[in-house]
Amino acid sequence: MSAARRLLIVGGIALALLGMIYGVWYAVFAEHQELDGISKSLATSFSAAAKRDSATSGAAMGEYRELKYAYDRHVDVHGHWIGLAMILLVLGIGFNRMGFSEQNKMFLATALVLGSFLFPLGVLLQTLSRGPVPQVLAVAGSALVIASLAGMAVGFARQRG
């Protein structure tokens, strides 16, 4: 098995494990709490509006915004880590069909594995910090994924017989 192929398969399994372990943690310790919080804050906001209590209504709506922001990102991280792991595994299995030199294959595989790890990590860090660093990480990670996938598509198209 070539080094690039091994990197994709081992990286894919590691990323899938990371995504699943994160998913279990999230399901047990965060998901239900966040969903309950989203539902309750919306209900509280409209109930307060019915009682003409605009201060409570506004505060509850603010709480909803924060919870929804975190919930969307937590779910995205789980889905993207596992989805990207699947792509790494499938590409790893078929990597010997690519019409590139071993060096180029290794370069593309490294970029894809790195991007697949960094992109969801950047999204996850956005729940902890609203600064530019997590956003830069997510953008850089997704750019690596897109560029390496484009390179691999060319490599598969080039392969003959």
């Binding site: 590409l91 997510a138 017989g161």
Partner: protein, 378 residues
């Protein structure tokens, strides 16, 4: 020399036949996996046509009732309306989960089928694990589908019903089977003198396989580019709008301004639709891309003429492109685009069914033409 060659050919043929024999683990997982994806896609299509839009309308009505109850100053009615919205969301969520889990388990089954030569377990054990995997893969989505209808009836627990219990059991069964295969792969890797894996599936270089692999990867790439564009230009705007429209609704309800409430409700409905089509287009392009790439590996076992195999591969890729593109165009073109997107889904289902039938028809004739073990096919 000729006798040695002949024996070697026979040995290779025996191995190939055993690898994809009528009830072998690989065949069970391949046919079961494609079957799961087929049924999952059919469920998705039926759900999209008969449930999704009606359910979205009911959720919208529920939210409208909530806002109008707040306008009327009726806090109890607000709570009641939220409960009905929750019920509609549960109905929608369980159907989406059924669709998604069937397809995801189908992908996993295909992946496990590819990995069979690396699983160092007895044939019988691998076959039993395949059955266990398939039973769990059906139990979970069927259980999830029934959650909305069974509820807490006769349940020994206060928050989880029987349907949820059986769905969770299905998940555990799938995990056990997958762990069993992983154990087998671990054993294979630990074997000091393991034979090099000769596998016709991975050595195939047919044109159809290459079309599916390159086409699938292109679809994945398109899905990512669209996802990146959405994240860069629309995601934060949508998040801000989600908050501001709900906030506007709540403030207008407090001020008894019915016109402002209705206006915010209208905009909110449009926003939800915009988010949904973007996410669906992104997810479907990537999922269909992965499906095409997985199916590329199974082309040697699709017992159809080469021209038909190629045609079905193109049909699959065409449908895989049409569905997400026209889902995205639904906001501009309305139901016409929705209909064309459904036709795209149907094309994927038809090509998948054709490949499934081709694999059922396979009796080993491709392996019969194989050179001796260690040789390569073009």
């Amino acid at each position: 020399m000729a006798e040695v060659q002949s024996r070697s050919n026979e040995a290779a043929l025996d191995v190939a036949r055993a690898a994809f024999a009528a009830m072998s683990a690989r065949r069970l997982l391949t046919l079961g996996g494609i079957g799961l994806i087929l049924v999952g896609m059919l469920v998705g299509d039926i759900f999209a046509v008969f449930v999704l839009h009606q359910n979205a309308a009911k959720v919208g009505e529920g939210l409208s009732a909530t806002a109008h109850a707040a306008v009327a100053g009726d806090a109890d009615a607000v709570a009641g309306s939220f409960q009905s919205v929750g019920s509609f969301l549960e109905n929608r969520g369980t159907k989406v989960d059924t669709h998604v889990h069937m397809i995801a388990f189908g992908y996993l089954a295909l992946m496990l089928a590819i990995l069979q030569p690396w699983v160092a377990l007895r044939g019988g054990t691998r076959k039993k694990l395949a059955w266990v995997f398939l039973v769990g893969s059906w139990l979970l989505p069927v259980g999830v589908f029934l959650i909305h209808y069974v509820g807490l009836a006769y349940s020994p627990l206060t928050t989880i019903g029987w349907a949820s219990i059986f769905a969770d059991l299905g998940g555990v069964v799938v995990i056990v089977a997958t762990l069993g295969y992983l154990l087998g792969i671990g054993r294979h890797l630990r074997q000091a003198q393991r034979a090099p894996s000769q596998d016709g599936l991975l050595e195939d270089r047919s044109v159809t396989g290459r079309i599916l692999l390159a086409g699938g990867l292109t679809l994945v790439l398109l899905g990512f580019v669209h996802g990146g564009y959405y994240a860069a230009f629309d995601l934060y705007r949508h998040e801000a709008l989600d908050y501001s429209l709900l906030s506007e609704m709540s403030i207008a309800a407090g001020a008894r301004n019915v016109a402002a409430v209705d206006s915010a409700l209208g905009w909110y409905g449009q926003l939800v639709g915009e988010k949904a089509v973007n996410i669906a287009a992104h997810a479907h392009a990537i999922e269909f891309g992965v499906l095409a790439m997985l199916l590329a590996f199974f082309q040697p076992y699709v017992s159809l003429r080469e021209t038909w195999k190629r045609a079905w591969a193109w049909v699959l890729l065409l449908g895989s492109l049409v569905l997400p593109v026209f889902v995205l165009l639904e906001l501009r073109l309305g139901l016409v685009a929705g209909g064309i997107a459904d036709v795209g889904g149907l094309l994927v289902i038809l090509s998948l069914l054709a490949m499934w039938i081709g694999i059922v028809r396979y009796t080993g004739e491709i392996d019969a033409m194989a050179p001796p073990a260690g040789g390569r096919r073009g």
